[in-house]
Each structure stands twice: as C-alpha cells, then as structure tokens.
C-alpha cells in the first residue's frame, strides 16, 4: 500500500523580484512500512520537499496524497490536524521546549489532539519507557545528553502513532555512538512496521535505509530507479 504519492510537485519561492524554483516536478511514491533516505546537496530542494511531505508547507502546483488524503487540496488551516495525527517530526536540533519537563514535551502532541491529561500522561510515560528514559520524566531537556534529547524527540514524534516518521538530519548534532543508537531506534521502528523518511547528508547514515532518493536542483536524480 502506498502511503505517499506525489505528482509533478512544484514549489516556487518569491524572493522579492526573483522567482526561485525549489522543486521542479517531483514524482515520488513511498510504500507503507518503507525506510527511505532522501539525500542531496544543500540547496537541492530536499528541505523543501521535506516541508511539503510534512505538511508544514504547500506545493505551488502538483499533487500530494498522504495516506489516502489529497493533502495538496487542503487549506492551510486543515494541515495542522494532518501534522498532528499523521506525521511525527524529528529535527536535527531536537527542538524540545526548554521550559517543559521531558514528560510534558512528549505529552504536547496528545494535548493538541485533545487527549485528556490523565490518558496522555500514561501514554507519554509508556513511550518514554520504550526509548529507555523512564527515569528522566521530570528532567528538563538541558539536563540530558544530546542522544537522550533526540530519544525524547523521537518519543514525542511517535506518541500519536503517526502514519509517517519524518527525520531531518537526526544524527547531525550527535557523536557516532549516540547517532548509532538513534539509527538503531529508527531501525526498530521500521521493523515494527513504521514508515520512516530520513533526510541526510551522510551516506553512511543513508545506507541504513531500504532505499535512497537523491534530489538535485529540485528534481529526483535516480532514486526511484535505484530503489
């Protein structure tokens, strides 16, 4: 079953008078349960693709179907709901809220989903146990190591059981050891049937994926063929 399908995806940016084409007709299909890496040099448009796949942004033209929904047809206001229940984000710089405890950070997506406070606490504790942080629930993010922080971020990303897990350079700020642990977690999630999409520079990291999609100048290089 395909979970992501894009057709002639185009994204233009207006930078003053200059119009920049960041994506130039991306046709892409990702099956449910795949572990995919998106690679490309900086400025290739991979971040833009990532934003559109993650419903943070809308394409200028073209189609995007996510888990059966024609997302490209939806207004911006409807995208928040899609982000909330279908997408889990993991960022390079973790992006945890510094004033909130680990537990509260992981509870956030559930709060925006309208889950009761008791239920979301239980669920967040459960997920944090899965990533091995049960003993850190009341800690603030800055009391943890980088690897631990990224594990919290992963917990936050999967707490809502999303359709896809989107990771943007998830190991970029980590040492080899911690990075390896994080990739191990992604691998586990993939083994359990989750769809994982990872953007990276690092060919070693990308090699952990089932398939590599290469982006260059806003177009797919040969990833689809190589898959």
């Amino acid at each position: 079953m395909e979970i992501i399908r894009t057709k002639s995806l185009v994204k233009d940016y207006n930078l003053g008078k200059v119009k920049v084409r960041a994506l130039d007709g991306i046709d892409l299909t990702i099956e449910a349960g795949e572990f995919v890496a998106i690679m490309g040099p900086s400025g290739s448009g991979k971040s833009t693709l990532m934003h559109i796949i993650g419903c943070l942004d809308r394409p200028s033209s073209g189609e995007y179907h996510l888990d059966g929904d024609a997302v490209s047809e939806l207004p911006k206001s409807a995208l928040a709901g899609i982000r909330n229940n279908k997408i889990g984000f993991v960022f390079q710089s973790f992006n945890l809220l510094p004033h909130l405890s680990i537990l509260k950070n992981v509870e956030l997506p559930l709060m925006y989903a309208g889950v009761s406070s008791r239920a979301r606490k239980r669920k967040a504790e459960e997920i944090l146990a899965e990533v091995g942080l049960s003993d850190r629930l009341r800690h603030k993010p800055n009391e943890l190591s980088g690897g631990q922080r990224q594990r919290v971020a992963i917990a936050r990303a999967i707490v809502n059981s999303p359709s896809i897990l989107l990771a943007d350079e998830p190991t970029g700020n980590l040492d080899t050891q911690a990075g390896g642990d994080i990739l191990e977690i992604f691998n586990d999630l993939h083994q359990k049937g989750n769809t994982v999409i990872m953007v990276t520079h690092d060919p070693v990291v990308a090699a952990r994926a089932d398939r590599i999609i290469r982006i260059r100048d806003g177009m797919i290089d040969y990833g689809d063929l190589a898959g």
Binding site: L56, N84, M111, Y112
Partner: protein, 411 residues
C-alpha cells in the same frame, strides 16, 4: 477542535511562572493604574457618603434657605432684614412649604441663672424650627404660635446649657435672665450627635456639639424685647421633596426681590442645588483622576503589548515546534491571548490589594472616610482583563499567523 480553555489557562500559568520577573515588570503599569482607580473611587464614595449624611442631618435635600447676599453691593441701598409682618406675608405666599422658620441669633446675649453666667448662643425662632432641624425637646415643650403672638418670656435650652446651670435638677419652670428679660424655661432640647467620620480632630468627636449650647426663644420676643433692632436675615424653609425644594427656590426668588423693592439683598439657595453642584464638582474631580488612571492603563497596555511582541519574537522557534507537532493557529492565538489576560488580571488583583493597603494607610492618616466596595473591585478587575484583551490581540494574532517553516528556521 482547539485545545480547551482550561488547558490554555494551565499553560498560561506555567508560562508566567517560568518568567516571573518579566511578568512582574510587564504588569507594573496595570498595577499602578488599577490601584489609582481603586483609591480615587473609594475617596469619592467616601466623600459622597459623608456629604449625604451631613446634608441629611442638617435638614436634608428638601431645604431652601433665604440668606444674606454676600455678592450684593449694599452701597446701592437696601438692608438685608425682614420685618415680622414681611415674614407673615412671605409665609402666606408659600402655603406649599412644609415648614417655615425665620431665625435671628443674638451672639452678644449672656444667659444668667442666679449668679452664674454662661456664654451660649440664643436664637429667636418659629415653632417650625423643630421640623427644619428635625430636632425636638427632650423635656417639656417647644415654643408655639401663642408664644410668638404674645411675645412670651419663655426659653427652650440646650442639653449642655441645662447641664451647666442645673446639673441633675429639673430645669423646667426655672427662670433664666437674658439681657434684661427674665425667661421661664419651658423645655430642654434633645442632644444632637453626629460622629465625624474622620474622628473630628479639633472639633471633638461630636461634630454637632455646638448645637447643644443653643437656646431658643420666640422670634417676636427676640425682636421686640431681648434684642430690639436686630435684623432677621435668615429664613429656612422645608419643602415636601427635593424636587419641590427646587420649585420653591425658583418661586421664592422673585417674591423676595419684590418684598425688598427689587434690591438683591437676599440670596435664595437650596440644599438640592448645592448638592447638585457638589456632585458636579465630584464628577469633575473623578473625571480628572479617571483620565490619569486611563492614561496610565493605556501606557501599561502598550508596554504589555510590546513585551508580548518581544516575547513572541523570542519564542518563535517554540511556536514553530508547536505548529509542527499539530497546534492550530487558534491554539497558538489562544495561548498568548490567555497569557496576556492572565498577566493583566493578576496585575489587577495586585493593584486592588495595593489600593486597599493605601486606602487603609491614607484614611487613617487623613482622617477621611473612604469606602471601597465589591463593585469597585469588580470594575478594577474588569478593566485589567479588558486591557489584557485589547492589547493582547495584536501579539496573539502575530503569533498565530507565524508560518511554521519560517518559525522553525528561527534561531
């Protein structure tokens, strides 16, 4: 579906708790503004209350007075004086009056009982004095129409006078000398007492104690026997209602003018008119202070708006993260709206507490009545919440409109 208000409130409290100092600084203007409103409203209410009490005690708002016109230039002739027959005419022309009491004071009159002298004010009056002042004898009787007609040698004495001359003995039937007239005591007035709300200072606790030193004799006796040639220059009239008093005041003006051959030697005033004037002054006073409070609240509001805008700028990335994990624009809008309103409401509460503390301190010091009530607290709270809503909108809209991609890129 957005997150609940309770959720937003909880988030707002947590946000404020993490940024205590900033929140305190943010809200300083509101605290001061609310405090100012509280104090001014309480002072005004206090002033109003004591004025009303005083007025009521002194004959109420139905009183009309004819008195010496200080603005009249007496070189143009005329004399501020009523004869007894003029008074009879005047009285017959205003049958709608409830009470009519001309009076004349003999300040130089010394009362004597046997060989004791006592300096007390003696006033020649009509029987209606009782209605005008709402003051009646405690013992014996007051002066009546027969006493007026007959120029009777009778006197009604004040409680302090009775105490001075007679101690515990019965004053009724005793004789008192006033100038060269021997007068029979026919009554003793009840004691007048009105506690000054500020404690009274130099006048003692009882603001009306001076009245207890007064004696009353028939007006005719005063003019014809005790103090011949003295001038009756004051008439107090009570109407049936404050509105009637205003009508009576209007009617009396021309009558008095005609009686005195067109010379404006007398002025006709009413308590109602004075009251209206006083209320007008109070309103002016309060308007000025409310303006000052409003300006300080406005400035406070602008400060809040700016600090919230700065705070949102600083928290752009956080907002981006929240948007990425599923917050709707309305959620973000509400988060900051609720936070601003919470801060200003909190400021309002502190302002009220501070206002109370100041009232407590100042009212003791100024010996002034100040009245704070629930309505003021409610007003102050409402105003501070309103300020939060008005000045919180722009920052909240700005936060809610952030683009997630741009917000996430913010360092």
């Amino acid at each position: 579906m957005a997150i609940s208000l309770a959720e937003s409130l909880q988030m707002g409290v947590a946000d404020i708790a993490t940024r205590k100092v900033r929140s305190a600084v943010t809200v300083l203007g509101i605290v001061l503004g609310v405090m100012c409103i509280m104090v001014v409203l309480a002072i005004l209410a206090g002033m109003n209350q004591s004025t009303m009490e005083w007025m009521t005690e002194r004959g109420g708002l139905s009183k009309v007075e004819i008195g010496f016109n200080w603005q009249y230039d007496f070189r143009q002739g005329g004399e501020a004086k009523f004869s007894l027959s003029e008074l009879r005419t005047l009285k017959s022309l205003i049958p709608e009056a409830k009470a009519f009491n001309p009076s004349i004071s003999a300040w130089d009159a010394k009362t004597r009982y046997r060989d004791q002298y006592y300096n007390s004010q003696c006033i020649g009056v009509y029987p209606d004095m009782q209605i005008v002042e709402n003051w009646y004898p405690e013992k014996g009787r007051f002066i009546n129409e027969i006493d007026i007609r007959e120029n009777s040698n009778v006197i009604v004495i004040g409680s302090k006078v009775a105490e001075h001359f007679f101690g515990t003995r019965d004053p009724l039937g005793q004789s008192i000398m006033l100038n060269d007239q021997m007068l029979r005591v026919i009554g003793v007035m009840e004691e007048k007492y009105w506690e000054n709300p500020g404690g009274g200072g130099m006048w003692g606790k009882n603001a009306l104690d001076y009245m207890n030193h007064r004696n009353f004799i028939p007006l005719s006796t005063m003019v014809n026997k005790v103090s011949p040639g003295s001038k009756i220059d004051q008439v107090e009239i009570i109407a049936h209602s404050p509105e009637d008093a205003l009508a009576l005041q209007k009617k009396l003006g021309p009558i008095v003018l005609q009686l005195k051959d067109g010379k404006k030697v007398f002025r006709v005033s009413s308590a109602q008119e004075d009251m209206v004037q006083m209320q007008k002054n109070a309103k002016m006073f309060s308007a000025v202070f409310i303006m000052i409070a409003a300006i300080s609240l406005l400035v406070g509001g602008i400060v809040i708006m700016n600090i919230m805008l700065a705070s949102i700028k600083e928290r752009t990335r956080e907002i981006g993260v929240r948007l990425a994990i599923g917050a709707r624009r309305l959620d973000i809008f509400m988060q900051f709206m609720v936070q601003t309103v919470l801060i200003t409401a909190l400021g309002g509460v502190f302002g009220i507490i501070l206002g109370y503390a100041i009232l407590d301190l100042v009212s003791g010091y100024l010996e002034m009545a100040m009245v704070a009530n629930i309505r003021m607290i409610f007003t102050a709270l409402l105003v501070s919440v309103g300020i939060g809503m008005i000045f919180g909108i722009a920052p909240a809209i700005k936060a809610g409109n952030l683009d997630p991609v741009v917000a996430l890129r913010e360092e």
